[in-house]
């Protein structure tokens, strides 16, 4: 069976983390680069602190908007347990880029469920190529926790088939219109994410 020649980026996280915005920026960068692209998610009620996933597919021609289990080239996880939940979407040899943040939901706080002890160990034991990134820690070093997503996008940029600068200019461009004061900080965050990912790739 032929597959449409598309690259599949599966994003996951928790409602409110900015997963959909990150997906939108990657999709915009793909379109700006000249690719056909489809970006899709089922939002609605899941935004209220529930699981959020977003599918971004791009290439010369994209048909279905859906990434099916077993076909993601890149899993971009904004939260640890969500990386675990979405692991089945990765294709063999796919890459997981995982933010080490833990966001336990109320059902865990109330003691109804346990948060998995070692999600990264589990993912690696399954044979998945995992790159971990402490996007929160990097954002803290830059003195602004709101920069987490820009750090993540910077880290993701190296795995995408277009120049990182194209994604960066879109990320920064958003702030140029609304909050020019944040342009420089987001540039630094994007660069820090890129560097962290570069180090991981060199090590791993």
């Amino acid at each position: 069976m032929l597959m449409s020649p598309a690259l599949n980026v599966f994003l996951c996280g928790v409602g409110g983390q900015g997963v959909m915005t990150a997906a939108e920026l990657i999709a915009q960068a793909a379109v700006a680069h000249g690719f056909d692209c489809k970006k899709s998610e089922i939002a609605g009620i899941s935004q209220r602190g529930g699981v959020v996933t977003s599918h971004v597919r791009f290439g010369p021609k994209v048909l279905s908007a859906v990434i099916t289990p077993g076909s993601a080239d890149l899993l971009l996880a904004f939260e640890l347990a969500e990386a675990l939940r979405a692991a089945n979407y990765l294709k063999r040899g796919g890459i997981a880029l995982v933010n080490v943040l833990r966001l336990p939901p109320p059902v865990v706080s109330m003691g109804l469920y346990r948060y998995p002890e070692q999600p990264l160990v589990e993912l690696r034991a399954a044979g998945i190529c995992v790159h971990e990134i402490d996007a929160g820690g990097i954002a803290r070093e830059l003195h602004d926790l709101r920069l987490v997503n820009t750090v993540m996008l910077g880290a993701a940029a190296g795995f995408l088939p277009f120049p990182a600068e194209e994604l960066e200019s879109l990320v920064v461009g958003r702030f140029a219109v609304r909050k020019p004061a944040l342009v420089a900080a987001n540039r630094r965050a994007f660069a820090a994410g890129r560097m962290a990912a570069g180090r991981m790739r060199a090590e791993g």
Binding site: V31, K38, A43, G50, G70, E82, N88, Y89, S109, R174
Partner: protein, 635 residues
């Protein structure tokens, strides 16, 4: 969590210049298509996955756009605009069409003047609804054509074409989309707007006054129109076949399913129906003659399949495929493979890791948390009839404080039925209906009027958070703002409820953050054997009416681990550590010590009021409500 967007923040890609290629969602594309077609008026009530159609259209110039109080009113406003000779759009989610159907089922007898397009968004897969419906049946029911785009570019083009079709055949046209069209973003090449003069209302009592005599006379026109539309469907470029090298199986499909089919089976011949009602049976018959077997792939009901089989054309369909949910590639591949003599595709290489469920929750400082904290405490003494909105989450942990949730506004009718037909088992129970402000204005007022008229023994709690929260914070007749954020008349809930006949003594306005007062008020009102209304007023934390105050914190040495603060259900409260304690009786209890996430906490103080040992304190002196709260005792 990001607050509701402010419309003025950024330049929306829907505003792109003619010829530009921009990333648009299916909903954005419908808005752009309608605008390019010269639409003059658009009306809707928000509902996932349809909301952004009107939201986006409101950003475009030279269109009157409104959030109507419900879908039936939206439909009627759009019909009125059509009668005025203007092009009009109304949009809604699938269940909204149920509400609007009365007006549609009658206007379809007379037809339309200016183009009238009804965009209906089906929540296939039930991600944010109370049921799943296939809205194409409205086309058959109302004898109007149905268009089904597969992606945003088609959504834009079909929205434009829908107005042409509507005016050519003087019929309303249904543009049927699904979540996987509405919320998919893809590059769309946009065009120019065609300005159209509004023709003006043409007086024609024999047509527009649908008295029995006029309706009887016009009924045959529907059948004639449907016949002409069947001919249109046979010849329409929206219905086209794609040749395939493998003629063992030919697929008839529509909407997003078309793309899933092409993704999975590039070698199979495919007949795509963009104009799916009336079904072009001649076209299907010719297509069927060129393949060994026909399979209909459609979301969700066997709508096209039944028409095909009724015409005597053999087809597979729902005997192979599910009749609920999306027909995505992972669903299609294993089910269609056997028809081709192939084995099912391999499973994904990596399993999903086992982890906890992460159901949606109310936000930190959500005023509904206060209500459900109180209702959870009354749980054994009350039946609670819920409604549609964020507050349906009150059914889940930690509150479990809802017994029914059915349809928009149905909380009150159901509460009254529970009251009037109560058996001995429920004799001692108080019956409470919980409904949001926007939902109350949508379809709740009539239910309350009926409770008053029938002398129901019901306490209605109106959760007035001054927005339509679940769908992203749209304004409504009670928010004091119009579609564009401008000042608008604001309905006064206490006066409205009084006008519906609730005695003034039984109307109580409370602050849902003020736990002890709230609990006392709800308890008192449930004890009166007559209709009563508690109006809980606090803005939604995601709206710009909300003002955050400094966060609270847990003084660790004062925390006894009683875990009562967790019962508020605030996502900013986390487990710091747990321990076991042996009571004097010998029983072992679990102690859970809390910690507050200072970034997520916006200082509502609900947890402080639920804290017995007063271990939760403000990190900084706050003004107004929060200060008063910190000083008050436990619920």
């Amino acid at each position: 969590m990001a607050p509701f967007h402010s419309k003025s923040e950024a330049l929306h890609p829907v505003l792109a210049a003619t010829g530009a290629r921009v990333l648009l969602s299916g909903n954005d594309a419908i808005a752009r298509g309608a605008w390019e077609a010269g639409v003059r008026l658009a009306a809707a009530y928000p509902g996932t996955p349809s909301t952004e159609i009107l939201e986006t259209l409101s950003l475009l110039p030279d269109v009157y756009a409104e959030w109507s109080v419900n879908e039936k009113v939206a439909m009627e406003v759009a019909i009125g605009a059509s009668l005025a000779g203007a092009r009009a759009l109304c949009s809604m989610k699938h269940v909204g069409m149920n509400v609007a159907s009365d007006a549609l089922m009658t206007i379809t007898v007379a037809g339309v003047a200016g183009g009238l397009v009804i965009a209906i968004a089906d929540d296939v897969g039930v991600s944010s609804s109370q049921n799943e419906q296939d809205s194409r049946f409205w086309g058959r029911f109302a004898h109007v054509p149905v268009l089904e785009p597969a992606d945003p570019q088609e959504a834009m083009e079909m929205a434009k074409f829908a107005f042409e079709l509507s005016e050519t055949h003087a019929t309303p046209v249904i543009l049927r989309v699904t979540t996987r069209v509405c919320h998919v973003k893809a590059p769309v090449t946009v065009g120019a707007r065609i300005e159209r003069e509004t023709a003006g209302f043409q007086r024609d009592p024999g047509r527009w006054i649908l008295s029995p005599i006029n309706a009887r006379r016009q009924l045959p026109l529907q059948a004639g129109r449907e016949q002409r539309l069947a001919a249109v469907a046979e010849a329409s470029p929206l219905n086209f076949a794609t040749a395939g090298s493998d003629r063992r199986l030919g697929i008839v499909t529509s909407g997003a399913a078309y793309l899933h089919v092409r993704e999975c089976f590039p070698d199979l011949p495919v007949l795509k129906l963009g104009l799916s009602h009336p079904v072009p049976l001649g076209l299907v018959s010719r297509f069927a003659a060129g393949v060994d077997e026909l399979l209909v792939v459609e979301e969700t009901e066997p709508f096209v399949e039944q028409a095909i089989r009724a015409a005597g054309i053999a087809a597979r369909g729902k005997d192979v495929l599910p009749r609920t949910g999306e027909l995505t590639p992972d669903v299609l591949r294993p089910l269609v493979a056997p028809l081709l003599g192939e084995s099912a595709p391999p499973l994904p290489p990596y399993p999903a890791g086992e982890t906890f469920p992460r159901p949606p929750t109310l936000c930190a400082a959500c005023p509904h948390s206060g209500i459900y904290y109180v209702l959870a405490r009354l749980r054994k003494k009350v039946l609670i009839s819920g409604d549609i909105g964020c507050y349906a989450l009150g059914a889940g942990p930690p509150w479990y404080a809802l017994d029914t949730v059915v349809a928009m506004g149905s909380s009150m009718g159901i509460a009254l039925g529970l009251d009037k037909a109560r058996g001995d088992a429920d004799r001692s129970k108080a019956i409470i209906a919980v409904i949001g402000d926007s939902t109350f204005l949508h379809m709740g007022m009539q239910g309350l009027l009926n409770i008053v008229y029938q002398r129901g023994n019901i306490t209605v709690i109106i959760l007035d958070n001054r927005t339509t929260a679940m769908t992203g914070g749209q304004d409504h007749a009670g928010s004091g703002r119009g579609m564009h954020g401008e000042e608008a008349p604001r309905i006064d809930f206490p006066r409205l409820v009084a006008a519906l006949g609730v005695r003034p003594e039984r109307i109580r306005v409370v602050d849902p953050y003020q736990l002890p007062v709230l609990a006392k008020t709800v308890r008192e009102e449930t004890e009166f054997a007559e209709p009563s209304v508690v109006i809980a007023q606090r803005p939604c934390v995601l709206s710009d009416f909300y003002q955050a105050t400094p966060p609270f914190r847990v003084v660790d040495e004062d925390c006894t681990g009683c875990s009562n603060c967790f019962n508020v259900g605030c996502p900013a409260i986390h487990l710091a550590r747990s321990a076991q304690k042996t009571l004097a009786t010998g029983t072992i209890t679990e102690l859970q010590f809390a910690v507050i996430d200072s970034i997520a906490c916006t200082g509502c103080g609900l947890c402080a009021r639920a804290c017995g040992p007063k271990a939760i304190v403000a990190t900084a002196p706050a003004d107004g409500a929060a200060a008063g709260m910190a000083a008050a005792g436990r619920c």
